[in-house]
């Protein structure tokens, strides 16, 4: 322990006495980082796009997931879908702030995680309670073929106020991205109901042009009116150290998922 001229007391470390806001200090902390779960794959299963679509879409996807569980370790995140949109609309009408909307949204995605967990229960894959999910993840991944969590990051009332409007910016795509980045997972795949990214919404507009591969910076520059994933992912890719790309795959063509996990290009790849 050392006392310094300013009267403060410190435990000796290379950051002692330093401001963690100082630019020089921060540059010195850029070191190599370990991968905690390098062979696991993170897959986000869309709420509105997949689970809300019902058995005709979900059952074939579950069959494919069941097969893949034989060869890969899967971390499955779920979206909240229509119920999250509904609770947002009621919450907004009642004047709730962004952080409260984020807290509320966690419940819908957790419901969907339990639905997917019931369907994958025969394969030993269940929804894990959010309170223990992060800390026990490596244990689960080594013990069972896969796990399911609500893709919601635990931001809750600590959600960041967005630049525009009140909707929480870190939703379930972001939760899956941040998890895959922190644990150094092999891939991140977002399963949606479109083949990938288009220059405009392919559901509403004829003549939408498919984009098979694009950088986050280019996508920021093009500032498309809508994206098939949380907008914050573009910024997160920019600062990612381990997860340098993700792929959007059409869940209505579930056989593509196997190829995506092998690293094949079957949808849209967005890279850092």
């Amino acid at each position: 322990m050392s006392e310094t001229a300013d009267g403060r007391h410190h435990v000796a470390s290379f950051l002692m006495r330093e401001s963690l806001v100082d630019k020089e200090v921060l540059r010195s902390t850029e070191t190599a980082v370990v991968r905690m779960l390098p062979s696991a794959h993170v897959i986000k299963v869309g709420g509105r796009s997949i689970l809300d679509a019902g058995r005709s879409v979900v059952y074939p996807l579950v069959d494919v997931l069941a097969q893949l569980l034989g060869e890969h370790k899967l971390i499955l995140g779920t979206g909240g879908g229509a119920r999250t949109r509904h609770v947002f609309s009621v919450g907004l009408d009642l004047g709730m702030p962004t952080g409260v909307l984020a807290q509320l949204a966690a419940a819908d995605a957790l419901g969907n995680a339990h639905i997917l967990g019931a369907l994958l229960a025969p394969y030993g894959v269940v929804a894990i309670p959010p309170e223990m999910f992060g800390h026990l993840l490596p244990l689960f991944v080594h013990a069972v073929p896969g796990v399911i969590f609500n893709g919601v990051p635990p931001y809750s009332i600590w959600e960041h106020p967005p630049a525009i409007g009140r909707i929480p910016p870190h939703r379930t795509d972001a939760g899956c991205f941040l998890l895959a980045e922190c644990f150094g997972c092999s891939t991140l795949t977002l399963i949606k109901d479109v083949d990938g990214l288009y220059d405009r919404d392919p559901k509403g507009e004829a003549g939408a042009v498919f984009i098979d591969e694009i950088s986050a910076a280019e996508l920021e520059r093009r500032n498309l009116a809508t994206l098939p994933f949380d907008r914050v992912l573009l910024r997160l890719l920019g600062t990612a150290r381990l997860l340098r790309r993700f792929q959007i795959v059409n869940g209505h063509k579930p056989d593509l998922l196997a190829a995506a996990l092998r690293g094949e290009h079957v949808g849209t790849i967005v890279y850092a």
Binding site: G7, R8, H10, V11, S13, L15, M16, S19, L20, V21, D22, K23, E24, V25, L26, R27, T29, T31, A32, V33, V34, A82, R85, H86, F88, S89, V90, L92, D93, G95, M96, P97, T98, G99, V100, E131, G134, P154, Y155, S156, I157, W158, H160, P161, P162, A163, I164, G165, R166, H170, R171, L178, L179, E181, T226, L227, L236, T239, R241, L242
Partner: protein
């Protein structure tokens, strides 16, 4: 089956995209509700304050207690030198930012527990994130509660642009508590009078800045600032908390004056002329 939602906005969100900025702009049209408008958020620094021990902490505790009849306080704690040690060891061992965030949480929790025990005889509780639903009751009954400042992002902490230290630490966590509850004020208790043009501990030519906007501070491109940069960033997007105050808790009476709405220390605002 066709949905029929409470509002047109609800219908639009059900069918539309939450990445559509025109749709998002509509989500801020309803007047917001202020959840805890008479509570003050007070954040006590870790390295700057708690690590100084009783010489610094006891007088501040007395000042907090003296203000309880007049002001409700949600008291957050910083992490400090043990977090710097944990980050140093963790960085050397290759820990990702999310793991460092977990380590920082533990240290700010230790500090929250100590501040809590010093206030325990006044019936003031320590609450973890899962217990925030009880916060309004504690504020009504005991007029204060203690929480750890670190936002509970753990493994989901965003990476910083430079380096590996979690960018959203205890200043940010406390700020977001004041924002979500639309609190009356956000007061950061540190060991300096406020913001300077450089770290006054290292640069004797550092000049004091009593008031500035977040944009002005960014334009100054300072090597070091007195609060986490993320707070300045979020201040601009905040719906309720459009200013913060940084005060010197080593000077008796500063906290009281700040709670009374006086301009002591540095006031940083989102808007010019605020």
């Amino acid at each position: 089956m066709k949905s029929d939602l409470l509002t047109d906005l609800g219908d639009a969100m059900l069918s539309g995209s939450l990445t559509d900025e025109l749709l998002m702009a509509r989500t801020e049209k309803t007047p917001p509700v202020r959840l805890l408008p008479d509570a003050n958020v007070v954040k006590i620094g870790g390295q700057s304050f708690i690590d100084r021990g009783r010489a610094a902490v006891f007088p501040l505790i007395d000042e907090i207690v003296a203000n309880l009849p007049h002001h409700k306080m949600i008291i957050g704690t910083g992490a400090g030198t043990r977090a710097r040690h944990a980050y140093s060891v963790g960085l050397d061992l290759g820990m990702p930012t999310g793991v460092l965030s977990v380590l920082g949480t533990f240290v700010s929790m230790q500090n929250a527990r100590m501040i809590h025990y010093l206030l325990a005889k006044h019936g003031i509780p320590f609450i973890e994130p899962a217990q925030f639903a009880q916060l309004p009751l504690y504020l009504s009954e005991r007029r204060a509660a203690v929480f750890f400042g670190m936002p509970p992002y753990t493994f989901w902490q965003e990476n910083p642009v430079v380096g590996r230290i979690p960018p959203h630490r205890t200043d940010t966590g406390a700020f977001l508590v004041s924002e979500v509850f639309a609190a009356r004020s956000m007061i950061f208790v540190k060991d300096e009078d406020g913001l300077y043009t450089a770290d006054p501990k290292k640069d004797r030519n550092a000049r004091f800045i009593p008031r500035a906007t977040a944009a002005e501070i960014e334009a100054m491109d300072l090597d070091d600032v007195v609060v986490e940069r993320a707070v300045l960033e979020m201040l601009k997007n905040a719906e309720h908390r459009r200013s913060i105050q940084v005060i010197n808790g080593l000077k008796p009476g500063q906290l009281t004056r700040a709670l009374n709405g006086e301009h002591v220390g540095t006031i940083i605002t989102a808007d010019a002329g605020a």
